[in-house]
Subunit: 460 residues, 2 copies
Amino acid sequence: MFSKETYTSRRAQLKALLKGEKGIAVFIGNVEAPAQYKDNCYKFRQDSTWLYYFGLDEPRFAAVIDLEDGSETIYADDFSIDDIIWTGPQPSVAEQAARVGVSHSEPYAKLDWAVSQAIIKGRPIHTIPPSRWYNTLKLQSLGIDKPSEALIRAIISMRLVKTPEEIAELDAAGILGQKMHTVARKGIRLGRVEQEIVGEMEGVTLAEGWGVSFATILTQHGEVFHNHGHAFPIEAGKLMVIDAGAESNSHYASDFTRTYPTGSKYTPKQRDIYSIVYDCHELAFSLTRPGTAYRDVHLAVARLMLDRLSQLGLVKGDLDEMVAAGVAGLFMPHGLGHNMGLDVHDMEDLGEDLVGYDPDQKRSSQLGLRSLRMARRLVPGNVITDEPGIYFIPDLIKLWKKEGRPFVNYAALEEGYFDFGGIRIEDDVLVTADGARRLGGQRLPASPDDVEAAMAADRA
Amino acid sequence: MFSKETYTSRRAQLKALLKGEKGIAVFIGNVEAPAQYKDNCYKFRQDSTWLYYFGLDEPRFAAVIDLEDGSETIYADDFSIDDIIWTGPQPSVAEQAARVGVSHSEPYAKLDWAVSQAIIKGRPIHTIPPSRWYNTLKLQSLGIDKPSEALIRAIISMRLVKTPEEIAELDAAGILGQKMHTVARKGIRLGRVEQEIVGEMEGVTLAEGWGVSFATILTQHGEVFHNHGHAFPIEAGKLMVIDAGAESNSHYASDFTRTYPTGSKYTPKQRDIYSIVYDCHELAFSLTRPGTAYRDVHLAVARLMLDRLSQLGLVKGDLDEMVAAGVAGLFMPHGLGHNMGLDVHDMEDLGEDLVGYDPDQKRSSQLGLRSLRMARRLVPGNVITDEPGIYFIPDLIKLWKKEGRPFVNYAALEEGYFDFGGIRIEDDVLVTADGARRLGGQRLPASPDDVEAAMAADRA
């Protein structure tokens, strides 16, 4: 948690950005999310926008900012003596509100009254879209039928640019994420079951942080992106993609990917593809600086990828035409990166396009580019991921072949790459005044030589 | 997952129990629970009643059983080619339904149609109470306004009695829970932060199981029951309560508590109280057998506890009168135990009283006894926890003193026990044909001598 002044000044800035808007802004903190029943819940995760403006990391808080008179009220319930038997002595809501610079508080149920009064008076109600099922229910019961684009845009404009105190937290989350990845790399041994490594690395995040910043991907089938099963034993000759990150106790995220040869040395074919991904990753980092649109960095990566794949004979044709036709999407059907902050895909609940696209940028419909979550022209303080990858997805390749799409050497892919899997390399990057730097501490080994050297040292 | 026959026969038994009921039974499996936004969810946990009757461990499934003609339909959506890029090839819904013996399946959206048709025809709709916010929304949109007691009672009658294949899963979850507790005990060292141990023990559950069966309690303030903060360094002379369990990959739970001296030896005062709790724990186990009401076991524990506390001079008066007045509730404000199975508090979403009380048993209003979740007369196949504890809760003691409640030596408590903390010992117990046995593998050290010997060995 930051100082009272941090939250007070963030809210002051938000009010300044919304100067001229009528009505009230309603912020609904998260409540507990039951896993099985109301007394057995998932680990509490506060809403990120709430954390940003109000800091308090407890369930069942809400707040109203009056955009006209500037007043602020927190809504939450004090503990009763019955609660205190179970929870121990707790600070009052008024004390907690004061901790973040809000001088007025009311019981939680009074939120309904405040909103209904505003509705009766015809005052606009500004909220963000519901990110959880509870919020859908709550907005329904409050009679709020749509989110406020003005509020969303104001929040995005602030949260997109990380302050020095946020950057310190992101570095800390990065160091923890790198620690979990190092534990994972050391755990790779033929015959072990994937889940064992997942448990070890997630244990690291729980020992020092809130937990994982998203469901860990650890798979010998890197070509399957959302692969959350971990039932397989580690086999020789495979590529293991590990895409995982930590969330710090202050709820900032990290997100790293490395791709390891299960037997500690890449085969020549694996090394060929890995080197392309690595060079794409390095190219993206070298291009990351204020003023450059991240969409253009994505396209530069696509160009290099296609150029190198054509040297391997897997695609053929004019490079400009292939880039324009989106051929890179066959091999990298995802975007180069996304914003990161309090959320690993920062502010995704506020709307992907509003967060990731400048007003004059239009989202592409091409496979790959259409999944780019961050296209904006970069400014200092942006925090983004740099995560190119190459995958050989048999069903997708067969689909393109059936559709007769040009430029692709289908025969070579069918013959040599249907059991290859996939490779991705990802670091977290801060845009600085004149370029970029990687977040976290000591960088995880990334070049093919460095990865093999680290794995050899692990085994020594 | 069990065999097709297991699920088919469970549903057949359910239909037999509901013979004569009109209408349809609607089962709503869980959907993903967003932690921050819809693509960043908590680890998927299927609804336990769904798992029991339909087994399929994937989100966004539902089912209808027609109680009149016995037909069964599963509602879920097949993956599209777009999904398959992200998820890899997936079995069809029809294949999955067949896996659990259901021959008919429909798209998920058709559930609304099926329910509305039944409502239009005036057929009763049987469902269980919503355990998650999504289910509240879904039942609302389906026009289902209240749960069905007939269905709930039938489900409870089945799930209360564990079958041999369930008992094998509970033993496995117990072994995993014991492993996490052993890792925790070995991790106790002065100066370490509590959270480090939590991370290590939860890592064990993730490496071999689904994760924790509930939020780990690991605290040097055992007198605070719902203490999920772990920010404190381990200090000399404290008692550390660790109440934690594992959920296996098949979603059966374990739940153990041990209380360790942070410096590896109990002080004489700690040993006095620990020995009482241990003897209460052993007494409860010795009384656990078919035909005995677990409420009576709770009361026998209360009697022993008060007798021993009076020997220490902390209470005084006639033992029968003290038991009747509920004086034990001051020291143990919770119940002796609860049912356990697919949920750690088994079926709590179905209603605590329906699950834990025989029709002729009325829940007490006394502190402690009123929190007893399992009061029923035991039958073979019941799985329960045996978890007595003694806590010195300053705010509660002060409240009783202020209210002038008799039998308690307030002066002695104030003078010597306000910084004592609390002690709890818990094992999981199966009711057998002629008695009981503890679940899991090698029992965790429980007697004061055994605990100290184990901690000495850990340090050797």
